[in-house]
């Protein structure tokens, strides 16, 4: 009853003409910047922050929040169309989304991405309303050892990402780990693999790596082929997904939402881990995992749901505890404070109009995003009919612009080009790029947390099984490992018997 009253209050606030307008402005901006690689919500929000001084607090937070979750919608667009991840969280969408586009199913992929994002966004918002406070205090129980165990599980599961040679996939994971080590080590402060270049002291950026390995290398590969890519222009089938597409995508969307919601609450895990996890779970559960990486619709629905759910639930620790999980959240927190609003356990009691107004605006914003993105599908798909010789300079231009805008540094652009060439070599060698990205994302966090856990426990390893969360995650990792190794051993044995 109480909750219902609050939600009514929230919608009352969010439905005012002014707030609707700012919500729309936010999600529109979010979609646009989501499309551009490198230019993410972080830069946009920091640029818009000074403007929000003149706005009423509720309107400004509604707009900034709209930019944040709106970017998750836009990020998938270029990932699907031209293999260019517009946001860090949409790198995973490249894997199957782009393959769908190559098969002439770009419309279906874009629509499913928008719809699963919508479902996930709404469920994530419901979670903020219903379970915000208990979930936030639950997230506080995650210590360094638990983060380590979680990352280890992710890395063990990475082998799922491969189709084909397991050794190559493992090699790519290790290479990703090594690339992730470039930069200043958190625990010792020592710079590693920077060759004395101050520009490398903060490591190689995710955008540099993902854009290089997906978008730039795809351009190089395409230029190698003499004939233009007719597959794209020939058979762009129905724009909307078929009924069977929606049925196939339904459960993956829900599972992706659950996974994304989980990671969104944990401060500091970052947006790409949730979409990777959702993708790996779907591939593991699939009856025919070989479809993944070749245009499986679940491979678009699950990660897109996950990154949107995570974007939504990331508001939970920020609103209820004042803990910003990401740099962008820190900015929104700053915006709240500058507008005289104090986030924390009592925010719902102290400023109910703000809290419930913003939450209600998230439902409205998500609905606006679907209304905005579904009609855009037709326009986006038309882009693919542009001859490739005109399209690819534009893709490269966007890659360069996006990478330059990260740090206003030309080095990032050169690095991205180098990674693009490397990606081309990998595709020639049939080395899958996804395990590399996953190793890059998980490796540094794993190292940071295992060393912190041991620093806090004074080198006592028992910390990893004394914590129930860590113990359970480690057992799951072990089981997963055994389940992968056993069939391989059995197959070897049978082979040995057959030969003997």
């Amino acid at each position: 009853m109480d909750v219902l009253d609050h939600i009514m209050l929230g919608f009352g606030v969010a439905m005012s003409l002014q707030n609707l307008a700012y919500c729309f402005l936010g999600v529109l901006l979010g979609t646009l910047i989501g499309v551009l690689p490198g230019v993410g919500p972080l830069v946009t929000i920091s640029m818009l922050l000074p403007i929000t001084f003149g706005l009423p607090p509720v309107a400004s937070v509604i707009m900034l929040a709209g930019i944040y979750y709106g970017a998750q919608y836009g990020g998938s667009t270029t990932a699907i169309l031209v293999n260019l991840p517009g946001e860090t969280s949409s790198a995973v969408t490249c894997l199957d989304g782009y393959q769908m586009a190559r098969q002439g199913r770009a419309g279906a992929a874009l629509a499913i991405a928008a719809l699963s994002s919508f479902v996930a966004g709404c469920i994530g918002t419901i979670l903020i309303v219903a379970l915000g406070v208990p979930l936030a205090s639950w997230a506080l129980r995650f210590g360094a050892e638990d983060y380590f165990a979680l990352m280890l599980l992710g890395l063990v599961a990475a082998s799922v990402l491969t189709h084909g040679d397991l050794v190559k996939a493992l090699a790519m994971v290790v290479l990703g780990l090594l690339i992730g080590l470039v930069g200043t080590d958190v625990n010792s402060g020592v710079e590693r693999y920077t060759f004395g270049l101050p520009e490398l002291a903060d490591g190689i950026g995710f955008t540099v790596l993902a854009v290089g390995i997906f978008a730039v290398s795809e351009v190089v590969t395409n230029l190698e082929q003499k004939e233009t890519r007719e597959v794209f222009t020939k058979s762009i089938g129905g724009l909307m997904p078929s009924w069977s597409d929606i049925k196939t995508a339904f459960l993956p969307t829900l599972r992706g939402t659950a996974i994304g919601s989980f990671f969104g609450i944990l401060p500091g895990t970052g947006p790409s881990i949730s979409s990777f996890s959702a993708y790996m779970v779907e591939k593991k559960l699939a009856r025919d995992p070989s479809r993944f990486g070749r245009g499986a619709i679940e491979g678009v629905a699950a990660p897109e749901a996950a990154n949107n759910a995570a974007a939504q639930t990331a508001f939970i620790p920020m609103l209820t505890l004042g803990i910003p999980g990401t740099a962008t959240m820190a900015l929104i927190l700053g915006a709240l404070v500058m507008n005289g609003i104090q986030p924390g356990p009592s925010v719902m009691a102290r400023s109910p109009e703000l809290f419930w107004g913003v939450v209600a605006s998230m439902f409205i914003g998500n609905a606006m995003l679907v209304a905005l993105n579904l009609p855009l599908v037709g326009i986006w798909v038309k882009l693919l009919t542009i001859p490739y010789r005109w399209l690819f300079p534009a893709i490269i231009l966007f890659c360069a612009l996006g990478n330059y805008s990260l740090n206003n540094s030309a080095i990032d652009v050169y690095l991205c080009a180098a990674v693009g060439i490397l990606g081309y070599v990998f595709s020639k060698l049939k080395c899958p790029p996804a395990p590399l990205i996953l190793g890059y994302v998980l490796g540094p966090m794993m190292e940071e947390n295992i060393r912190r856990a041991l620093l806090l426990s004074e080198g006592d390893l028992s910390i990893f099984w004394k914590s129930p969360i860590s113990a359970i995650l480690l057992v799951i990792s072990a089981l997963l490992l055994v389940s992968m190794i056993l069939p391989a051993i059995r197959a070897k044995k049978e082979q040995a018997y057959a030969e003997g």
Partner: protein, 322 residues
Amino acid sequence: MKPTRILAAAVLAALLAGPSLAQDYPTKPIRLVVPFPPGGGTDVVSRVIAQKLGETTGWTIVVDNKPGSGGSVGLSLAGKAPADGYTLVMAQNANLVINPILGKANYDPVKDFAPIGLAASAPQVLVVAKDSPIKTVEDLLAAAKAKGGKLTFASPGIGTSSHLAGELLQQIAQVKFRHVPYKGASQALPDLMGGRIDVYVSSVPSVSVQIKEGVLRPVALFATKRDAEFPDVPTFEEKGIKNSDAATWWGLAAPAGTPAEVIARLNTELNRVLKLPDTQARLRSAGAEATGSSAEAFAALVKSDVPKWTAVIKAADIKVAD
């Protein structure tokens, strides 16, 4: 050309350029290098000042974010820029003074820069979780002694000014903490609130929300005087821990060799905008206090900070470069 002619030409050029430089400056947009990404404390301080300078003088000031390596990238770039007054940098003690000591920068804080004036400062604070038994500085020191060097002290990273403030405290108060470095506040705060670490040192702005909300409790400030926002929080100085000032300061600097007239002009304008109530209010909302100073005072601060932090870093045995 004969040497005398060169000399004559140089004198003539100096006569022509000298007065015109001071009078006409600036004749083109001024670039203000901000060595951090948009949105952070340094960015806010820089943009507020750049905007106010622009509004009141009619100058065009372009803020150029050049982040990387804890500010070293931007400072190094600005230090090498032409010393004509058209490239300025918003330096901070962490990047101007501390990074070179840590071997993380290739510039000399005294020789490579011409100080213009101090802009703002923000104190640092030691905080604990709300249910921590540590309530006062005395409690803190007693707990550190009782735990025999096992009291865990978290910072936003190795070599950050917060880390060094914690080291300074240990050295002056003759206690030993166990340092646990984090990458910013996003994971350090949950660990502090979850009781996995004992104390956290941070700049005030990044924990003021949590302090006001009551989830974190401030113990004492690393500052020479109390903070207007938290008048009840004592300083370590008051509690008998002398010379424990570790405030973060921001100062406007130019490449070394920038004409003295230009520096003087910039100093006048900087101090003028820092006195405007609107500037002060906007800096305060970002957690910083407008300070302002003469170029000489800024230079003196840099000169005294270098040996101070060199000693702290040496005593704490912090080595980040091989």
